[in-house]
Symmetry: C2
Subunit: 350 residues, 2 copies
């Protein structure tokens, strides 16, 4: 059996070792030795391909794992993911995030890697800054980005993360108004039949109340029409509400209304049709055009990440799983200073 | 057309009106007049069955709705739900919560009602106190409980709420130990093969690492086994961890660990098998026995409500929709002072 020595936080094998017989593990160093990462060493030790010594003490698997775990925080998580990806038939090695994964059949270092993998615990919030940084890295080095999330039982869920590119095909909004609306508790009502039908048919604003001619608008829809200069709303005191006045009023009914509106406006300005995603537990369901009544299927669910700057893995798991079940793409919206960034997260089986 | 008069917050019709011709609306008062609730009046006014006067001013639908809305907060929501339930073919009237709904074909007041309905906005948190109070009421008067949640576009989702009665069939836990375990970052490893297989096969504790004999336990599983006196865990400093010491350590890794553990323990003590629900975005997936490998389907998802004492409707929507999609029952756990209460929430089509 090949003897390895635990030095610092790697395991060194003697220079005469044939690296091609190490199951894709190891990196030839300049000095001629072969260096194994802690994950690779644990993997080979578990398969009884090497023995590992710390000076003259021979370590069994238990001792080695305990030692590696205290040598490097996060070793346990990374080893679980390393093993899992190996057992799914891929080669991988240390990479710009945690690992670089090669396409099936390609041994590490022999061709181009396909993914970069970031290992995460379900118990740690994901910072949106980090998410965007990882995404930029992935674009720059042209590798797909995977998040490997380890749950409390050590099972791993893989998510592919992409920049969302949402572009719709509705006509630019050009109804000049004036449209008059009444506020009713949590919605706005437009009583003019012609205008109601126009707004609804051309851009799918609001909901036509079935047996009458009135149109019921949500608050985000109303704010958008006010901002476009088409809708005039009279408050309960008889005065016309400004956009700011309306937003203030809506924010009293719904916390976080303003941020939600920013995303709504951005999506509408991109030519998408945006409706509530309440039934799917997301902020919006989004269509790339006004749907024909037969093909009534929204392509995206869009959920605004809270402005705490982080998101918990169970939130992602829930949203992505739900979207997958209803055949929609799950997109998270991140509010940046001057624009909205869209991040699509997909559940993938490796 | 029948003339109604808006008096206080109801509409009165003259005593000679034939109540059987009011589409199930109205209540005969002692004085002989027929009283309509604001929702009933708006419903009949929209259908042009009555006219409504405020003193000598005749109100059109728009004026009446605006007036009703300022007379009674929440009128808009209640009217949306009233109309929706009517249009689905049911009779209803004011009830102990918001409405009492009769079985299809039964007119209001002519037979026993089936549901009591509470009208909610998706924008208001639901207090867990209120939820439990509504549930008790529903049990006491033997009527099924529906929550009608109105989303921002005025669409309504109906949830039936029931007390969850979770009882499982696993053998009582009787492994006395001592079992020795090592902590590895976020999990516990048991290295003894016989014990590992026993724990896993009889009660489905932990996960057997595929090609070796070790068992990987989650923190809640470990805490349970420590509390039962079977598991002994040695900390990194070489000292044996007490249950409290272990819980403290786990709580540092996972906020809210303790509350989650209380629910885990309660479910295990009820003979259920409890595994992580991470892939479904819930705290636990729960089986009523150790499943045969073929019928590997958990019946419940259990999610602990945060101890803020409230839950937001979008959270419920998300969880219930997801559970529905994977054919599981969604159960929320509420921690009370001395016990755990389970509340099952189902999506229903009326």
């Amino acid at each position: 059996m090949i003897r390895g020595d635990l030095i610092g936080s790697s395991v060194l094998l003697p220079y005469e070792v044939d690296i091609s017989r190490l199951a894709g593990c190891g990196l030839k160093q300049e000095g001629g030795n072969v260096e194994l990462s802690l994950e690779e060493a644990a993997y080979l030790l578990e398969r009884k391909r090497i023995s590992v010594f710390d000076r003259e003490e021979r370590l069994d698997l238990r001792e080695f794992i305990n030692r590696a775990s205290s040598l490097r925080p996060g070793f346990e998580l990374k080893f679980l993911v390393y093993k899992d990806i190996r057992e799914r038939g891929y080669h991988l090695r240390a990479g710009p995030l945690d690992f670089r994964v090669y396409p099936r059949g390609v041994r590490s270092g022999e061709g181009e890697s396909r993914y970069i993998v970031h290992v995460l615990s379900e118990r740690e919030p994901i910072k949106t800054d980090m998410l965007l940084k990882d995404l930029n890295l992935s674009e720059n080095i042209k590798r797909r980005l995977l998040y490997a999330v380890v749950d409390e039982e050590g099972d791993i869920t893989y998510y592919e993360i992409k920049k969302g590119n949402l572009k719709g095909k509705t006509s630019p909004f050009d109804l000049s108004g004036p449209i008059m609306g009444d506020i009713l508790d949590e919605r706005v009502i437009i009583w003019d039949e012609t205008i109601s039908r126009g707004l609804n048919e051309k851009w799918w604003f609001g909901k036509v109340i079935n047996d009458t001619s009135r149109l019921q608008l949500s608050f985000v829809e109303s704010a958008y029409l006010i901002e476009k200069g088409s809708l005039t709303i009279t408050g309960t005191d008889g005065r016309i509400l400004s956009l700011n006045g309306f937003i203030e009023m809506a924010s009293a009914v719904e916390k976080d209304f303003f941020n939600k509106y920013i995303v709504y406006r951005d999506l509408r300005d991109r030519g998408m049709v945006v409706k509530t995603g309440f039934k799917f537990g997301s902020h919006f369901r989004v269509y790339d055009r006004v749907p024909d009544r037969e093909t009534y299927h929204s392509r995206y669910l869009v959920h605004l990440l809270s402005n705490k700057g982080e998101v918990w893995p169970p939130e992602i798991s829930r949203a992505v799983r739900l979207a997958h079940g209803v055949k929609k793409q799950m997109v998270f919206a991140v509010l940046l200073e001057k624009r909205v960034e869209y991040v699509e997260i997909m559940w993938v089986r490796l």
